[in-house]
C-alpha cells in the first residue's frame, strides 16, 4: 500500500514528507522531477505530469491540486485509483481543516497536518478518513480554540475514541448541539457541451450534485424526495444514504454527517435534449501563410438561447490562442477583456447578458513576426451561471426529518452552471 507521501510545491521543493512504513529517501523524488521537467520541456501544463510513474523500485502516484503535488510512494501492486482517491481524500480533509489546501496553510499547521496524516493511514492502509471522526480526534485549528488551549492547558487532541468510529454511522459525530437547527440543500447542475463551428450541438449532458450543509442537533434522520426523480439516470451516493430505499422508492433517506458534504451526484440522461442557454456567433481568422500581414481578426457576439426565463450571469469566455500569437487588441461593448501573453489566453469577463444589447467583442490578433502560422482553430471555453433554476427541471418535493423533536429550518437552492462547455471556432 502507500509507503510514503511527499508534498511538493510549485517551485519543486519537497516541503513535507511522511512515512508510514520504513523511511524512503527523498531522492526517489528525482524521478518525479525528471518527469516534471520533461513536461515543461514539451510546453505542457502541470496537468500533464503523468499520475503514475514507475521507477526501478518504487511507484510514484501523484495528484495535482492547487499548485501542489501530492506524491504517494508505493512499492508493490496496489490499485492506482485507490491511491489517487485516497490522496484526494487527504486534500479534502485538509480543505475542511484549513478552508484551503495550499502551501502556506500546510506550513503554518505542520503539526496538525502531521497528526492528521498519522491518523488517516496505518501502515499504508486507510484507517480513519471520515472528516467527522477526524475532527473529533484532532480539533481543527482556530483562533479561539488556540486561545482556550493556551489558557486552560487543554490540547486539541482527543483522548477518547470518537463514537462514530465504532458505530454504524461513522460519518456523524456524536452529541451534536446547535441552537439554530438548519439544513440547506444546494442543487447544482452543470452543463457539459461541445458545440461545433456551425453552432450545432455535438455533445451535451447535464450532471448535477446536491451539496448539503446540515447543522442539526442529535441524530436526525432525513428523507428527501423529488417531484421528478426519473430524470436522474445514474447516481452516486454518499455512504450515509440508504441504498435500498433509493432503489425501491427513489427517496433519499439518510442520517447526515455534521457540516457540509456532497449528498449525491447524478447524471441526466441523454434522451432529453439539453437546453443550451447561450449561443455564440464568431468570426475568427488568422493571416494566410504566405501573406505579408501579421494580423488576424476576431469577432464574437454572445446571445441568450434557452434560459428558462433566467438571466445568464457571470458569463466568461476564455480563448486559448495559438502559441505564435503575440498579442490581441480587442474592444468590447461590455465587461472587460484581457490577454495574457504568457499563457496566451484571451479572457473576456462579460457579466450579465442583456438581451436588448448583445455583448460583442472585436479586434485584431497580432502574430509573432517570422513565426510559422499553423491553421489551427481555438475553441472557446464558456463559464456562466443561471441562478434559481436547475436546467434539467429537477425539483425537490419535500424534506422530512425524523428522530428529533425540534423543527429545523430548511432551504433548497437551485443553480445551473457551465461545466465543461466548449465552442469550437
Amino acid at each position: 500500500m502507500i509507503h510514503s507521501l511527499f508534498v511538493i510545491n510549485h517551485s519543486g521543493d519537497v516541503f513535507m514528507e511522511k512515512h508510514w512504513r520504513s523511511i524512503i529517501p527523498r531522492t526517489v523524488m528525482d524521478y518525479f522531477f525528471e518527469a516534471q521537467r520533461q513536461v515543461v520541456k514539451d510546453n505542457k501544463g502541470h496537468e500533464d505530469v503523468p499520475c503514475v510513474i514507475a521507477t526501478p523500485h518504487h511507484y510514484l502516484i501523484s495528484i495535482y491540486h492547487n499548485s501542489l503535488y501530492f506524491v504517494a510512494v508505493c512499492m508493490s501492486e496496489v490499485p492506482p485509483l485507490f491511491v489517487i482517491e485516497f490522496l484526494h481524500t487527504v486534500v479534502d480533509i485538509l480543505e475542511k481543516y484549513f478552508s484551503e489546501c495550499n502551501e502556506s496553510n500546510i506550513k503554518e499547521h505542520y503539526v496538525v497536518v502531521y497528526e492528521l496524516l498519522d491518523e488517516v493511514l496505518d501502515n499504508g492502509y486507510p484507517l480513519a478518513t471520515e472528516p467527522n471522526i477526524l475532527q473529533e480526534l484532532i480539533k481543527p485549528p482556530n483562533i479561539i480554540g488556540n486561545l482556550i488551549n493556551t489558557v486552560t492547558g487543554k490540547s486539541n487532541v482527543s483522548s477518547v475514541l470518537p463514537s462514530g468510529q465504532l458505530s454504524n454511522v461513522p460519518w456523524r459525530r456524536a452529541d451534536v448541539k446547535y441552537t439554530n437547527n438548519e439544513a440547506y440543500f444546494d442543487i447544482v447542475e452543470e452543463v457539459d457541451a461541445i458545440i461545433d463551428k456551425t453552432g450545432s450541438t455535438v455533445f451535451a449532458e447535464i450532471a448535477g450534485k446536491i451539496e448539503c450543509c446540515v447543522r442539526l442537533s442529535g441524530t436526525p434522520d432525513l428523507t428527501l424526495s423529488f417531484i421528478n426523480p426519473r430524470l436522474m439516470d445514474d447516481v452516486s451516493l454518499h455512504p450515509c444514504v440508504r441504498l435500498k430505499r433509493w432503489e425501491n422508492e427513489r427517496i433519499l433517506s439518510f442520517v447526515p454527517p455534521d457540516g457540509s458534504f456532497c449528498l449525491m451526484t447524478y447524471h441526466v440522461g441523454c434522451q432529453s435534449a439539453v437546453a443550451i442557454p447561450i449561443y455564440i456567433r464568431h468570426n475568427f481568422f488568422l493571416p494566410k501563410e504566405n501573406s505579408q500581414s501579421q494580423t488576424g481578426k476576431i469577432e464574437i457576439t454572445v446571445g441568450p438561447r434557452q434560459t428558462m426565463g433566467r438571466v445568464v450571469e457571470n458569463l466568461q469566455l476564455s480563448i486559448p490562442m495559438p502559441k505564435f500569437v503575440l498579442n490581441c487588441t480587442v474592444t468590447v461593448n461590455q465587461g472587460r477583456a484581457t490577454f495574457d501573453p504568457v499563457t496566451k489566453i484571451l479572457l473576456w469577463d462579460v457579466g450579465k447578458i442583456d438581451p436588448t444589447k448583445l455583448p460583442n467583442m472585436r479586434g485584431q490578433i497580432h502574430i509573432q513576426s517570422g513565426a510559422v502560422i499553423l491553421q489551427s482553430t481555438p475553441s472557446v471555453n464558456v463559464q456562466f451561471t443561471l441562478s434559481q433554476t436547475a436546467i434539467s427541471g429537477l425539483k425537490v418535493h419535500r424534506l422530512d426529518m425524523f428522530g428529533e423533536n425540534y423543527k429545523p429550518f430548511k432551504g433548497v437552492k437551485y443553480l445551473t452552471k457551465a461545466g465543461n462547455f466548449q465552442i469550437r471556432m
Partner: protein, 1071 residues
C-alpha cells in the same frame, strides 16, 4: 517569554532565511568555525525544553521537532531526550512522541526498547483509544527483538472487546509479518479468527491482512464468503476495495467460467453474436440458472457499490464484473465508469486506461457513450490520447463517419501530440474498416499538402503502413510522396518515404524517379539521422538489384560513405549489403538470391490497439496501468473447468449479522464471548487468554489508577537519572535503564517466596509442575494435554512473562499478591528456583591467581593477586567470592591492611575481609572478599589501605563469574529455554569448529570462561550448560550445537548478561 526567546535562537539556526535580521547575522557570524557548534546548540535548547517539567514547554518542543521531521530534516539525535517523554500524561505530547518514535525507532533500536514497557502497560488501559494507539505504535516500531511482544499483543488484541482495537490488531499483522515472516503460521491463525469477526469495522482490515500475509489460503475464505458478501455494503470504502479484489481472485478459483458455453466474449465472431440476439432471452435464463448461487450472490451484492462516491470502489466492482460476470451482465458497469470521467484528472486517466482495455473486446458496452469520449481542448494530453484510443477501438461501419468527422477537428488542434495521434488513429480506422479505407487514404493524401510539417510527416508514416496492407498498385501515391522527400525533415517520415520508394521501385512511375531520389539522398547522406541512413542503404541495395545500369556507381558511393559512418549499426549493415550485392568471391551463394531476398513481398503490419495485450493483467491494477508486472502482483487464476465443492461455503447455522452499536459493551462483548467457543484457540489456550483478558479488563479498572501513578513515578525517576549522564554516552543510558527495569523482576514479594517454597515441597519431581500445577488448579492443563502441545504452549507462557514485566515493574509491593489475575506460575518462573533446578558445584576452579595490583604500582611494596574461587560465599549467596593474595615484597612490615572508602554504586554490596593487623616483610596472606555485583559488570572500586596508604583497586568481573552452576534434567532445560526466546536469546554461529577440538575440549573452554554446569544431553551434537546469575537467580542457559551448522546460543532473561556472556564465550572459544 522563555519560549519566545528560545524560538528566536532556533529561528536563527534554521537554514531558511529568517525574518529577523539580527538572528540572521548571528548565524552568519558563526558560520565558518561554529557550524557544528551551532547545530549542536540548536538541539540543546530543545532538549532543555523536553526535560522541563512544564507540559507546555514539552509540547512546544515536540511541535518543533515534528516540524523538523515533517520537513524531512534529521532529528534523530534528539531521540534519548524525546523517548523519555513517552510516559507523559499530556495526551498531545504523548501523541507527538509516538509519531516521532515511529519515525526514528528503526535507527535507534536500543533506545527504542526503553519505550516498550510503556506500550505494554497502555495495552491494558481501559480506554480503547489508548489501547489501540499503543498497539499501533508498538507494531510500527520496526525493531526485530520485540517480535514476540508484538505477537502477544496482537493475539491479545484480537479478542479485545473493542472492535476498534481489533481493527488495529488487523493492521498490525502485516507489520509483524514484514518484520519477521517466520511468524506466518501463527499470524494466519490470528487472521482466521479476525475473518470470522462479525463487525463491519474489522472485516475490511482483516481481509487486508489476509491479502498481505496469506493470499494463497483460499480455504480460510470459504466459511466467510457469504458473510463477506452480505456485509460488503456496510464496510467502509477502503475495505470494500480490498474485499472485492480478494473476492475476485477467490471466485476465479471456485466458480466456473460463466461464458464457457460456446460464447467466447471476444467480439471477433460478431455475426454469431448478432445471430444469438433473438434467443438472447432464453440463453440468458439458461446461463443464469447455470451460475453457482454463490457466484450470483457475489455479483448481486457488489452491484449496488457501483453507486459509491469513491471511484476506486466503482473501479473494483467494474473489474469484478469484467472478470467474473456473464457477458450480458457486464454492461451494468458502463454508466458508472462513464460517470467517473467527470472526476479528477488523475481518476479520468486511470479509468480511461481501463476502458481502453475493455473496449478492445467489449465494443458494444461503450458504443452508446461514444460522445463521452470526444476530446475537449481542456483535457490533459494523456487523457486526449486515451480518448482517441477508445474512439478508435469503438469505430465500426455505422459510426465511422461520425468518428472521422470528429477526428477532422482534432487535426486542426493546437496540441501536436493529439494531431499526430489522430492521424495514426485515422490509419487504424482505415485499416480496420474496409468501407472507409479509400476515403481515409485520400484524406491522408490531402494532408500531405498541409502546411504543418508534423501533420505531413505523420501522414507519410501512416500512409506507408496503409499501403502495405493494401493490395494493388499505388504507383501514383508513392510518386507523389517521393516528391516530398526534399520538404520533409522529420526522420521517420523520410525513412518511410525511402522505404516506399525502394519497395515500389519496379512500379511504372516510381522506377523513373527512384534513381533521382537516391541521388538526392546520397548527397545529404552525411547529415541524415541513423534511421534515414539505414533506409538509404536499403534503397540503394534494392535499386542496384533492379536497375543496376543507372545506380550501381551511386550505390557503391553510398556504401563507401556508410562504411566510415560513426554508427556501428550502419557500418554493420553496409558490410552485410556489400557482400550480398557486390560479392567479392565466386562462391557467394547468397548473392544469387539477393533479389529474392530484398524484393520479396513482405507481410503487412497489423495495426491494432496497444491495449490489446493487456488482458493478462487484472483490470484496474497497477500492473495493468503500467502494462508491466509490478512487484507483488498476483495473477488472476483462470476459471477451473469443474467447480470445486461448493458445500465448503456452507455455514452450519446462518449467523445473523450483528450490527455494531455505539455501545460496544453488551452486544459485541457477548458475541465475541460466544464466538470464542468455536475458534481454533478455544481448544488449546482460550482459557489462558480468557484469564489474561479478565485480568486486563476487570482488574485494571480497580488498580489502574494506582498502577499508572506508580508507573509514572518510576519512569520519572528513570528520566531524571538518565538526564545526568545524558551527555556522556547514549548507549550507556540504555543499558542502565534496561538493567534498572529488569531487577524489578527479581525481588518477588515475600508472600510469593512462601508459596513458592510450599510448592517446591509439595510438588513432585514432575517437570511440568512448575508452570502448570502451581497456578489455579481449575485451569491447569493436565500433563498429557500439555505435553504434546509443548512447542506451542511454551513460547506463549514466556510471552506472558514478558508482558507481566511491566506489571511487576510498577507494583513491586505485596499488593500484587492480591491481584488474582496474575498467574502465579509466571511469578514463580521469574525467580526460576524450581525444585527441578538444583545448584551444583563448580566444575572448573582456576588455581592460578591473577595480578590485581603490582608491587610497583601500589607504591608500598604490596602485591595483590586475585582469584575467583567459584565457591558459594558464606556471607551471602549472591556474592562472588574473590580470594585475594596479599604479598609483601618489600623489606618493611605493613600494618593494618583493610578496605576503606568503598564508594559502591547502587545495587552493589561488598563484604570486606577482616582487617589484617600486620603483614610482615616477605609474608603472604590469603583473604576472601565477597562482592554482590547485582548482576552487572560495573567496576567496583575501593581503596585498600596498607599502613595508612590507600591503594586503589578495581574489581571488574567477567560475566562468567557472576553465574553459579545449576543442574536440571534435559526436559526442564529445554522447557526453560523455550521460555527464553526472542529478546532473551542471543546466538552466534561458530566458525572455527575444526580448531576447537572434541567435545571435551569445548566443554573445558566453556567451563574456564563461565561458571556453569553441564547438563546431560540426549542429542549427540548438542552441548548444554546451565547456570544462574548470583544476585537475581535468573537462569542462564548455554547451548552449543556442533554439527552442520555450529551455533552458540545463550538464553538469559537478562538481556545484557546474555549478550555479554555470549561475547565472552565467543572469545573463549576462539582461543
Amino acid at each position: 517569554m522563555a519560549s519566545g526567546n528560545l524560538g528566536l535562537t532556533y529561528g536563527g539556526q534554521e537554514k531558511t532565511p529568517s525574518l529577523s535580521g539580527e538572528t540572521e547575522f548571528a548565524a552568519e557570524a558563526g558560520a565558518p568555525g561554529g557550524l557544528f557548534h551551532a547545530d549542536y546548540k540548536r538541539h540543546d535548547d530543545l532538549k532543555q525544553m523536553l526535560d522541563s517539567s512544564k507540559d507546555s514547554l514539552k509540547l512546544e518542543a515536540m511541535k518543533r521537532i515534528i516540524g523538523m521531521v515533517a520537513k524531512g530534516r534529521d532529528a534523530s539525535d534528539l531521540f534519548p531526550a524525546v523517548v523519555k517523554n513517552v510516559v507523559s500524561k499530556n495526551i498531545e505530547v504523548k501523541k507527538l512522541v509516538y509519531v516521532y518514535l515511529v519515525r526514528y525507532a528503526e535507527e535507534q533500536q536500543d533506545l527504542a526498547l526503553l519505550s516498550i514497557s510503556t506500550f505494554q502497560r497502555a495495552l491494558k488501559d481501559p480506554n480503547q483509544l489508548i489501547r489501540a494507539s499503543a498497539l499501533r505504535v508498538l507494531s510500527s516500531i520496526r525493531v526485530p527483538v520485540i517480535v514476540p511482544i508484538m505477537m502477544l499483543a496482537i493475539r491479545d488484541s484480537v479478542s479485545d472487546m473493542s472492535p476498534y482495537v481489533r481493527k488495529t490488531a488487523a493492521h498490525a499483522i502485516p507489520k509483524l509479518y514484514d518484520l519477521d515472516p517466520e511468524q506466518k503460521d501463527e499470524l494466519v491463525m490470528v487472521i482466521e479468527r479476525l475473518l470470522s469477526d462479525q463487525t463491519t469495522l474489522v472485516v475490511g482490515s482483516a481481509v487486508m491482512a489476509f491479502e498481505q500475509v496469506c493470499p494463497e489460503r483460499t480455504d480460510l475464505i470459504h466459511k466467510n464468503f457469504r458473510k463477506l458478501c452480505a456485509v460488503l455494503v456496510d464496510v467502509e470504502e477502503w475495505g470494500q476495495v480490498i474485499i472485492i479484489g480478494m473476492l475476485t481472485r477467490y471466485a476465479r478459483t471456485q466458480f466456473t467460467d460463466p461464458n464457457i458455453n460456446g460464447t467466447s466474449y471476444s467480439q471477433k465472431d460478431k455475426p454469431f453474436y448478432e445471430d444469438s440476439e433473438e434467443d438472447d432471452e432464453k440463453s440468458k435464463q439458461r446461463e443464469s440458472l447455470a451460475l453457482d448461487p454463490d457466484h450470483r450472490l457475489l455479483l448481486r451484492n457488489t452491484k449496488p457499490l457501483l453507486q459509491s462516491r469513491n471511484s476506486s470502489v466503482v473501479m473494483a466492482v467494474a473489474q469484478l464484473y469484467h472478470h467474473l460476470a456473464p457477458k450480458e451482465d457486464v454492461a451494468v458497469v458502463t454508466r458508472a465508469l462513464i460517470r467517473l470521467l467527470r472526476s479528477h484528472r488523475e481518476v479520468q486517466t486511470v479509468v480511461l486506461n481501463s476502458i481502453a482495455s475493455m473496449s478492445v473486446n467489449r465494443k458494444d458496452m461503450f458504443e452508446p457513450f461514444l460522445k463521452n469520449f470526444f476530446v475537449r481542448n481542456t483535457d490533459a494530453t494523456q487523457i486526449k490520447l486515451l480518448k482517441l484510443e477508445i474512439l478508435t477501438n469503438l469505430a465500426n461501419e455505422s459510426n465511422i463517419t461520425f468518428i472521422l468527422r470528429e477526428f477532422q477537428t482534432y487535426i486542426s488542434s493546437q496540441d501536436r501530440d493529439l494531431v499526430a495521434a489522430t492521424i495514426q488513429a485515422i490509419g487504424r480506422c482505415a485499416a480496420g474498416i474496409k468501407e472507409v479505407t479509400d476515403t481515409c487514404l485520400s484524406g491522408l493524401i490531402a494532408l500531405l499538402s498541409n502546411s504543418d510539417e508534423l501533420v505531413v510527416a505523420e501522414s507519410v508514416v501512416v500512409i506507408k503502413k496503409l499501403l502495405q496492407t493494401q493490395q494493388g498498385s499505388h504507383g501514383d501515391i508513392v510518386g507523389q510522396m517521393a516528391r516530398l522527400v526534399n520538404r520533409i525533415t522529420v526522420p521517420q517520415a523520410r525513412a518511410a518515404i525511402l522505404w516506399l520508394v525502394g519497395e515500389h521501385c519496379e512500379k511504372k512511375r516510381v522506377s523513373k524517379m527512384a534513381p533521382d531520389v537516391l541521388r538526392f539522398m546520397a548527397r545529404s547522406f552525411a547529415n541524415e539521422q541513423d534511421v534515414v541512413k539505414l533506409q538509404i542503404l536499403n534503397l540503394a541495395a534494392k535499386l542496384c538489384l533492379s536497375n543496376p545500369k543507372q545506380t550501381k556507381v551511386l550505390c557503391q558511393y553510398v556504401f563507401s560513405l556508410a562504411k566510415y559512418d560513426q554508427n556501428y549499426d550502419i557500418r554493420d549493415r553496409v558490410r552485410f549489403l556489400r557482400h550480398l550485392i557486390f560479392p567479392s568471391t565466386e562462391q557467394a551463394v547468397l548473392a544469387k538470391y539477393a533479389k529474392k531476398i530484398f524484393l520479396a513481398s513482405k507481410p503487412p503490419p497489423v495495426i491494432e490497439s496497444v491495449f490489446k495485450d493487456r488482458d493478462e493483467f487484472q483490470l484496474g491494477s497497477l500492473s495493468h496501468y503500467l502494462n508491466s508486472r509490478v512487484v507483488g502482483y498476483m495473477d488472476l487464476p483462470s476459471f477451473p473447468a469443474v467447480a470445486p465443492d461448493s458445500s465448503v461455503r456452507d455455514v452450519e447455522s446462518p449467523r445473523p449479522t450483528i450490527p455494531i452499536t455505539s455501545v460496544p459493551g453488551n452486544s459485541t462483548g457477548t458475541s465475541s464471548k460466544g464466538k470464542k467457543k468455536e475458534t481454533f484457540y478455544s481448544e488449546s489456550s482460550s482459557e489462558d487468554e480468557e484469564r489474561n483478558e479478565d485480568s486486563g479488563s476487570s482488574d485494571s479498572k480497580s488498580d489502574s489508577s494506582s498502577e499508572t501513578e506508580s508507573g509514572s513515578a518510576d519512569s520519572d525517576s528513570d528520566a531524571s537519572a538518565s538526564d545526568e549522564d545524558d551527555d556522556d554516552d547514549s548507549i550507556n543510558i540504555s543499558q542502565q535503564n534496561i538493567v534498572r527495569l529488569s531487577p524489578s523482576l527479581s525481588p518477588s514479594p515475600p508472600t510469593h517466596r512462601l508459596t513458592r517454597s510450599l510448592v517446591i515441597q509439595s510438588s513432585s519431581e514432575s517437570q511440568y509442575s512448575s508452570n502448570s500445577s502451581d497456578s489455579d488448579s481449575s485451569i491447569s492443563d493436565t500433563p498429557e494435554k500439555a505435553s504434546p502441545r509443548m512447542p506451542l504452549a511454551v513460547p506463549k507462557s514466556n510471552l506472558d512473562l514478558l508482558l507481566d514485566l511491566d506489571v511487576s515493574d510498577s507494583v513491586t509491593t505485596p499488593v500484587m499478591a492480591s491481584i488474582p489475575g496474575i498467574p502465579l506460575a509466571s511469578l514463580a518462573n521469574t525467580s526460576n528456583s524450581d525444585s527441578s533446578i538444583q545448584p551444583a558445584s563448580a566444575v572448573y576452579i582456576s588455581t592460578r591467581p591473577m595480578e590485581l595490583v603490582s608491587s610497583v604500582s601500589s607504591g608500598c611494596s604490596l602485591q595483590i593477586l586475585y582469584r575467583y574461587t567459584r565457591s558459594v560465599n558464606l556471607y551471602s549467596a549472591s556474592m562472588v567470592t574473590i580470594e585475594l593474595t596479599l604479598i609483601n615484597t618489600g623489606n618493611e612490615d605493613l600494618a593494618e591492611i583493610k578496605i576503606a572508602n568503598k564508594n559502591l554504586p547502587v545495587g552493589i554490596s561488598m563484604h570486606e575481609f577482616t582487617t589484617l593487623s600486620s603483614l610482615p616483610a616477605g609474608a603472604t596472606r590469603l583473604v576472601t572478599l565477597g562482592i554482590d555485583f547485582g548482576d552487572s559488570t560495573q567496576t567496583v572500586s575501593c581503596d585498600l589501605v596498607a599502613s595508612g596508604r590507600p591503594i586503589r583497586v578495581n574489581f571488574r568481573p567477567s560475566v562468567g563469574e557472576l553465574i553459579r552452576p545449576v543442574t536440571c534434567t534435559e526436559g526442564v532445560f529445554i522447557n526453560e529455554q523455550g521460555k527464553l526466546k526472542g529478546m532473551n536469546e542471543h546466538s552466534f554461529p561458530i566458525t572455527n569448529l575444526s580448531e576447537l577440538g572434541d567435545v571435551k575440549n569445548i566443554s573445558t573452554k566453556l567451563f574456564r570462561a563461565a561458571n556453569m554446569a553441564s547438563i546431560n544431553s540426549s542429542e549427540q551434537n548438542t552441548l548444554r550448560f546451565a547456570g544462574q546469575t548470583l544476585s537475581s537467580k535468573s537462569l542462564v542457559l548455554v547451548t552449543i550445537l556442533i554439527g552442520t551448522n555450529p551455533k552458540l546460543t545463550v538464553c538469559c532473561e537478562k538481556m545484557i548478561i546474555g549478550s555479554m556472556l555470549l561475547a565472552e564465550l565467543k572469545e573463549a572459544l576462539k582461543n
